[in-house]
Symmetry: C2
Subunit: 309 residues, 2 copies
Amino acid sequence: MEFSEAEVIAELSKIFTRHDSRVLVGIGDDAAVVTSPLQKTVITTDMAVEGVHFRREWSTPDEIGQKITAANLADVYAMGATPEHLVVAISLTGHESMVWIKELARGIEMEARSCDVLVVGGDIVRGPVITISMTAIGQIDKPILRLGAKVGDRIVISNLPGWSAAGLFLLLHNINVSALSPARCVERALAQFRAPSVPYSDAIELRNAHSMCDVSDGLLIQAEQMATKTRFVLNSDLIRLHPDFADLTGLAAQVGADVWDWIAAGGEDHAFLATGVDLPGFEIGQVVPGTGVELQGVAKKPQGFHHFT
Amino acid sequence: MEFSEAEVIAELSKIFTRHDSRVLVGIGDDAAVVTSPLQKTVITTDMAVEGVHFRREWSTPDEIGQKITAANLADVYAMGATPEHLVVAISLTGHESMVWIKELARGIEMEARSCDVLVVGGDIVRGPVITISMTAIGQIDKPILRLGAKVGDRIVISNLPGWSAAGLFLLLHNINVSALSPARCVERALAQFRAPSVPYSDAIELRNAHSMCDVSDGLLIQAEQMATKTRFVLNSDLIRLHPDFADLTGLAAQVGADVWDWIAAGGEDHAFLATGVDLPGFEIGQVVPGTGVELQGVAKKPQGFHHFT
């Protein structure tokens, strides 16, 4: 494809312009927020394709279900909302066993249950590749937008991203993980890639943030999406102080990877990046006048793995 | 696959059982209906896969977009609900042109606009085949269930199904349509297959029905889904009186097809099948004690084309 996802979305946004007063937040944020006469409902959708977003040889079906559900629900929490309902559409090739399908469903159900979310419908079709599409619907009081940052805000992150990128790196490069130490770091990386544990409760604690985003497309990329009206200065010295930094750096060193590629550009790492005052979370920078993102103290531009490039 | 869609849904329903008082209608109907403290929201999702549900050589992108949207919105109306919002997830192969993608979006937008529905979000991913998944969310007062039929109800249909099945037949069998007459019937069949005109307003007029369903999986199959607590007797003599019957029969005769395969077993024909008293629509039968469906006056069991068999 000769154009980026952002270009496609920009084009489509020109077509889907009829956003009247019912739409508080439309295309372009983590989720849509719509009013109705008496309340606000949040809606978000995600699609995952076998071979692109998951591989059956790398993940069990319940891990696949859990991971896709987590990604969908994280978007709802990133809005400051509470997910309530989920619908799931899936295309199957016809070669899956019922056991596989049920395990996939159990993974979905397990993750949904952890957030008290109900799967209320779906669609099953035939297709040449397994594709899973989910839509989460929830309730919301005050949306926390990506573009709500104010000059002077502290920038905080709920947890250190990079573990899922590390796990993907190990799998992609067929690394003999038994030669790596400590084992708990290897296990954490692989587990975070296969079935991430999303810090949903941290997102709830960040509800007085001025802006918030789930950085699942990569920390820098998503910070850039938040920094079009203000400038985000991220301080690598602060990030280095995170309790997980040494573990992740140690793992990266053993496999010849740049830990900043994992932390700053890794995808599928769920962490809530927020700005505001008196926020919980780990401080990594500050919002200043200007636009764009600066990662101070890292010479080489971090490189990520992205589906759509 | 060694099992049917119904079997898969039955299995999944056992896993997704946490339907508390918030869920008025869960898995198994046209759409889910959920309460929230102050209102009822309707949610439904559909997925369509290239080569299975649409072919780029048969349909323009705007026809594809329109058709998939129509199918999704028809499910909302079939619940007695009013759709309000739509989210769309799509996987693209990377070989589509921006023009193609935009035309697809315009088709979606056109159909959504015809129902005053807003596209409020979506997801775009890479995949080996074009897959489009939609979720419609709407408002609802009193859900009209598939299983609400009462003994003594009249069975009505909003329009004669079979035109889309006829169009698919012409395309699947590479029929030289210029040899068929009248041309308006050929055009109607092809148009109804490519971009169906769904009688949404008829569904609104049927809101005092006891039960209702969009028969897009085939009239008999969907009537069977409605007839597990009562028996549906469909009278072919009544159906033969429909003003469209002669046209459709004439087309079938010219191509060696059985018109009852199209009317009673054709898929992707959008018509609202409802039961009740004093209903508008075309009467085709009656609800009696017992269970199951009987199509009186048609000797050969109608055969349909179904994706999942």
